[in-house]
Structures are given as C-alpha cells and as structure tokens.
C-alpha cells in the first residue's frame, strides 16, 4: 500500500503547515497525522477521517489571521483611513449643523474611537486594552452601518463617491476586526470539530 493511502491528503497537510507559525507547526501537523492514522482512519474510514482532518485544520484559520502580519497591517491602514474619515464627517456635522447632527456626530466619533481601539489592540499582544467581546461587537456594528450606508447611497438620487468609499472601508474594517482580533482561542472552544 502506498503511504498516501493511509496518511492525510498531502494538500491538506501543506495548507496546515502554511497556516501555522514555524515554531509550532511541525508538532501540530505531527499530532494530527498521528491521530488520523492511528484512530480516525481505522475507526471512521477515509472520507470521514478526511472531513475530521479538514475541520481541525480550518480551526487554525482564526488564529492564523490573528498572527498574520499582512492582515495586521491591513487592519491598521484601514483603521487610520476610517478614523480620518469619521473625524472629517464629525467636523462637517458641526460646521453644517443639519437637523439631528448631534446623534450622527456621536456615532461617527464612536466609530473613530473604535478604530483607535482596534489599532491599539492589534499593537498589544495579547490584546488586553479592550475585551474581545467589545471588539467583535464593534466589528459587527461597522459591517452593519457600512452596509446600510452603502445601500442608502446606491438607492439615493445623488450618488456620493465619498460615502461609497467610507461605507466600503467600514465594512472592510469590520471584517478585518472580526478575523484578526475577535476571540482568543477558548472562546471558540471548538464546538465544531471531531
């Protein structure tokens, strides 16, 4: 029998090796391979053993995103951009003073503070400045408001380019916040695998 017939699919192992940091990757891939060969494959058959392996491999995705430098840089760049936009919008609210400007300004300042918190949380490892729960809530709110602004702008008679850009930036930052800062391992507690 070929070795590949009783080991996890090579592409899944390669993917996992790429996801994991070098100092722990080797041991984790070894542990999963051992469990696959000695327990999962004999007990469950190839298809279910592969599914088991894939689920465990995917469970490292959030952690990989959190540790990824590129994702971190992207989050920081988006945060700076969104923070400047929110500051500018809040300033314009004060200048123009349209009805209901106070509540809009408060919301825009809250988003600016949230951007600052996301940046600080990303710079401090482990992020202790803000609880992961609040960051996740902030991320979800950004996606929601970004999507609402995007839809309103598309439906409006006059399409505003800057609203379009800001709404996309809000949604992107919300997604990045969820991927790179939300949760700390235990919170996931792996309801998924096995």
């Amino acid at each position: 029998m070929k070795e590949t017939a009783k080991t996890p699919p090579r592409w899944m192992e390669s993917l996992l090796e790429r996801l994991l940091p070098a100092h722990t990757g080797e041991q984790i891939v070894g542990d999963l391979r051992e469990e696959y060969i000695e327990s999962m494959l004999p007990q469950r058959g190839r298809l279910r053993a592969n599914l088991w392996y894939a689920r465990h491999a995917l469970s490292f995705l959030p952690c990989a995103f959190r540790q990824s430098r590129a994702m971190g840089m992207l989050l920081i760049c988006t945060s700076i951009f969104t923070m400047i936009c929110m500051g500018w919008l809040a300033f314009m609210e004060v200048v123009l003073r349209h009805p209901g400007y106070e509540s809009r300004m408060a919301l825009e300042l809250a988003f600016a503070v949230s951007c600052l918190a996301a940046m600080l949380a990303r710079r401090l490892t482990p992020p202790r400045i803000v609880s992961g729960k609040y960051l996740r809530a902030g991320g979800l709110l950004m996606i929601l408001f970004g999507a609402l602004a995007f839809l309103e702008n598309v439906r409006a008679v006059h399409f505003e380019g800057y609203i379009f850009v800001i709404s996309l930036s809000l949604m992107a930052q919300g997604i990045l916040t969820l991927l790179t800062l939300g949760g700390s391992g235990e919170s996931a507690s792996g309801q998924s695998a096995k």
Binding site: T24, Q27, D31, L32, F60, E186, S189, G190, Q191, S192
Partner: protein, 109 residues
C-alpha cells in the same frame, strides 16, 4: 488575587496533570474532549496552550518524532508552579462561591 481560570483552561491544565509524562498535543486534545464531554477543535486547544505558555502557566519541551508522524517532533507539556497555584485558587474561589448554595431543583429532590 490572580485572574481565575476559565473552564476550558482548567480542563487543559487538568488533562496535562492527569496525563503526566505523556502530555503532548494529541493526548491533551483527547483528554479535554473526554473531560468536557463535547467536541473540541485542535485550534482552540493549541492556542490555549500557547497562551498559557506565554503567561507562564505551562512549560513545554520538544522530543523526537516517530515514523507515524513523518518524523515530526512532539511537544510535551508540564504544568508550571504558577499553573498549579492558579488551579488551586480557582478551585478555592469556586468552592467559596458555591458554599451553602442550593439550586431550586436540588432543594426539591
């Protein structure tokens, strides 16, 4: 008083303690699943181990791999003194919280 450990962290530390010298990733993952009686992802267990090692609750050392692992090394974990203290404090705090508490269901039975 130090921060109390969460259920998941307690389960990981207790699995390491009960496994003794055989406490490496795969065995800990299975131990945690058995103690919590639910499916747990490898990602959750390994990231908890990494976090606890960074905060000094556990220590780890590498050992040679076996053929079945494709020669990949094993990482064995032990609970550090700080981890044992954290477990004792958590147990003491939980005991104090639950002392003299009877849930309505228990009172009826």
């Amino acid at each position: 008083m130090a921060d109390l450990l969460g259920t998941f962290e307690q389960s990981v530390l207790l699995s390491i303690l009960s496994l003794g010298e055989d406490a490496y990733g795969r065995a800990i993952l299975n131990g945690v699943q058995e103690s919590l009686k639910r499916n747990v992802s490898a990602g959750a267990v390994y990231s908890t181990l990494e976090r606890m090692e960074a905060s000094g609750l556990v220590r780890s050392k590498l050992a040679a791999g076996t053929a079945v692992r494709g020669g990949r090394a094993r990482r064995y974990y032990t609970v550090a003194a700080a981890g044992r203290r954290a477990l004792s404090e958590t147990r003491r705090a939980l005991k104090a919280i639950w002392e003299n508490v009877k849930l309505p269901a228990e009172q009826r039975s």
